[in-house]
Amino acid sequence: MNNTFTKNAVGRMIPAEINGKPVIPFKGVGKHRPEGRKTAPMIATCADYPSDGDKRVAGLKEALVKAGIQNGMTISTHHHFRNGDLVANEVFRIASELGIRDLVWFPSASFPCHEPIIGYMEDGTIHHIEGSMNGPLGRFTSRGKMKGVGVLRSHGGRYQAVQDGDVHIDIAVIAAPTADPFGNANGVTGSSACGLLGFALADSQYADRVIVVTDNLVPFPCIPWQIQGNYVDYVVEMDQIGVPEKIVSGTTQVTKSPDRLYIAELTAQFCEEAGLIREGFSFQAGAGGTSLSIGIYFAEIMRRNGIKARFARGGSNKYLVDMLEEGLVEYILDGQTFDLDGVRSMRDNPRHVNTSPFTSYNYHGKGNFAGIVDIVILGATEVDVNYNANVVTHSDGYLLHGIGGWQNCLFSKNVILPIPLFRDRVPVIRDEVTTICGPGELIDIIVTERGIAINPRRKDLIEKMKGSKLPIKTIGQLKEEAEAICGVPKPAAFTEKVIAAVKWVDGTVIDVVRQVREDA
């Protein structure tokens, strides 16, 4: 490979080209200036479409053939069905059957249910993935087995890449819990109801060909139309597009782990003492067990002090919906719904609003919601002593997670990472993270069961917490504590081969992931 490498603004070596396309190394937060105009899809004419508005075709295979599927195309899907998606695997099964090769899969995220995709990478149907490579797909990629280089983007970065023309979607396949023959679609009704379809918005707007796949066809009009039929080429009916119990996995349970509850409690106490929980504030917590408990502690603090939040950002679930219905939160601005209570609330409550990566996260827009949020609770696999954090690889070097909305949320006013100090002997706080996904300047507070570290850049918070009884420590102290317990781990061993690139929210490359050396 005669690729040259240059050091980017966070000190990582970035190749000049990835998958044959030139890349821009990360320049620093807000430093890269985009130029030119957004990309635009071809002008269509309704004269080419059935005048009665019935765009149905016999099956997914016919739709893909009519859409002109060819070698080397980019095919997109969305991940609102999470681990219950049946559509993406079916798309590539058909492509493989048609003998199509070297496709790029452009999902908004992947899940363990997409393990069959490995087979289509091995048989040459898929060249590489641009999206996320979770679990088995990540392991496959980390072993250097994917033909091309994976590209990881945040939810907002995905929208940015599509609108800026960095990624051209040839065919978008949009699984829709309910749709009409014109292509209007939503996620709030039907047996595969998933709440909203915001992750498919860019795909509908910018792809050359758009196929809507549904197992709940209703007569025109499908209301609400979260996806507008005016963008849609073909509508396909399938018996089943998702596995309902895996789409909305029942209500995620609040963690029972005393250690995680303790971290959640410390986080909530910190927010209260620092004065972050105040009338009209806003927050976003994830859907994991620890985050759920933080939400519950927030609710207690709000009730006790008679405080209302102006809005909460979803992922929504029962607990957030309860807060909305109790009046503790005035609006939920939701990016994805995690359980049936979330779906019901979004369908029935006008204060539970669906959003898309365009409104919430897109860095190349005239503002986005992420910066308005007061408190955001995020996770990380590793954090370094300069507060840089990793969410995609583990300390052993394997790529196992996607970025999700994580990078986008870093623009919130107070970014808090509640994490255990170590996991199964692996310290979470390191001298250097294996992969940098977010620069430390955007990460404010690390909460562990053994202490809370405040980024020295946040002099205001340090000042506010003076005299607090909470265990405030430096990040260096936390690292030493972890190492005293676990020992100092050896860094992961890699070959020279780049197997994935991690994009920053502005389309520049913040880091790359290399192939794991398995003999090490």
Binding site: Y262, D396, R425, R450, K469, C486, G487, K490
Partner: protein
């Protein structure tokens, strides 16, 4: 002679532990095979540690298979030592240094409101126990350890005492019933343990045996820190002999009651109301107070019902108990709060203490509050309440405002 032995835990759900299989050989040197999710990060150091342990026991030829689930070094060393000692007869112990944070002594009359039980052979539960700030932690070798795991559990507990930072909690071990418990003492006493719980105690003689053995082990290791004893009364006979047990040694600092075994001994079910154990609990409090030591109540076993736990603790406090056992970290705070002095109690105590200090300053022999004389025991109780409130960080100004 046996040539292979194993120790440790494996299977789904096992974390922070390892399973070690050791086979002694006649030749071929040491072969150590490691399967571990942290192998890229810690593989070399794990293998080095195993070599060190084997060499310490004079083993030159062996194969070792380690299935590691993220065990810390002291856990791996404990498992390997257990396997070694199952195969060779040795007096040697692979002792790890007691971390400086654990070299503290506790006081006879320190608070013992909560003491958290930790199964001795499940290392992952002990690891973070201290962060929940119980007054004491109990590494249990008795009921929570299966009979065939007792041997390796004692070694695990010994290493945990040396290496885990419990952040100031009183470090206790519940040994097995005598006579097996005497062997446990040999293992754990050299690790700066603070207190030994003696289960199913029925006589003063058992306390004396434990006390003597503790002293003998301390002498052998030239150690002088205090090791206290808390006998657990768990039978009808034990209840009747509570006072002689409580006063059997100056090292006995508290009597605890175990109600599961006690009610079984009575032949009646343990109820939530607890009428069946009222006599025993009162007897225990009386015996403890007569001997000038603390009385500690049984555990509350429904870990999901915090309201019922709170009521139980309040009842316990009203009977005169000083503390209670916990089987889950979430119970600790409820117990501490319920044992804490109430606002009215605290403001009264503050007034008495203020009067006492004033009398002291003026050199008066008699403390009086308004027109009332205050007896010395009332002063003593008030001092204790104020002290506890200070240690628990209860806002005393608030209490004054209320009065």
């Amino acid at each position: 002679m046996k040539k292979t032995a194993a120790a440790g835990n494996r299977g789904t759900g096992v974390r922070s532990d390892c399973y070690v299989t050791l086979e002694l050989k006649k030749s071929g040197g040491l072969e150590i095979r490691l399967e571990s999710k942290v192998k890229p990060l810690f593989g070399d150091s794990i293998i080095d540690l195993c070599r060190e342990v084997l060499t310490f026991f004079g083993i030159e030829h062996a194969t070792v298979d380690i299935e590691d689930m993220g065990a810390l070094p002291y856990m791996i060393a404990a498992r390997l030592e257990a396997a070694v000692r199952r195969l060779i007869d040795t007096d040697r112990r692979f002792m790890m240094e007691v971390i400086p944070q654990n070299r503290y002594e506790t006081k006879k009359d320190r608070y013992r409101r909560s003491r958290l039980y930790l199964p001795g052979n499940t290392p992952k539960l002990a690891l973070n126990a201290g962060i929940h700030q119980p007054d004491g932690i109990i590494l249990d070798l008795e009921d929570s350890v299966a009979p065939d795991k007792k041997f390796e559990a004692a070694i695990m507990v010994r290493n945990a005492l040396c290496r885990i930072d419990f952040y100031g909690a009183e470090r206790m071990v519940r040994i097995n019933q005598l006579p097996a418990g005497l062997d446990d003492l040999e293992e754990v006493i050299p690790c700066h343990v603070n207190l030994i719980l003696l289960p199913k105690c029925e006589s003063a003689d058992q306390v004396v045996q434990v006390d003597d053995q503790i002293q003998a082990v301390k002498n052998a290791h030239k150690q002088e820190y205090p090791v206290y004893i808390m006998p657990i009364i768990e039978s009808a006979l034990g209840v009747l002999r509570a006072f002689e047990i409580a006063s059997a040694s100056p090292n006995v600092v508290a009597l605890a009651i175990g109600l599961e075994d006690y009610t079984a001994d009575l032949g009646c079910p343990r109820t939530r109301e607890g009428r069946e154990s009222f006599f025993a609990r009162s007897m225990l409090v009386n015996a403890a107070r007569a001997a000038g030591i603390q009385a500690i109540d049984s555990v509350f076993s429904d870990v999901s019902d915090m309201e019922a736990l709170k009521n139980t603790v309040l009842e316990s406090k009203s009977l005169g108990f000083d503390g209670m056992g916990c089987i889950h970290p979430r119970q600790i705070r409820v117990i501490h709060e319920a044992f804490a002095p109430g606002q009215a109690e605290l403001s009264k105590a503050l007034k008495i203490v203020a009067a006492f200090r004033e009398a002291e300053e003026k050199g008066l022999g008699v403390v009086s509050l308004g027109s009332k004389m205050i007896d010395p025991p009332v002063v003593k109780r008030a001092l204790r309440i104020v002290d506890m409130a200070e240690k628990m960080g209860i806002e005393i100004q608030d209490a004054e405002k209320q009065s």
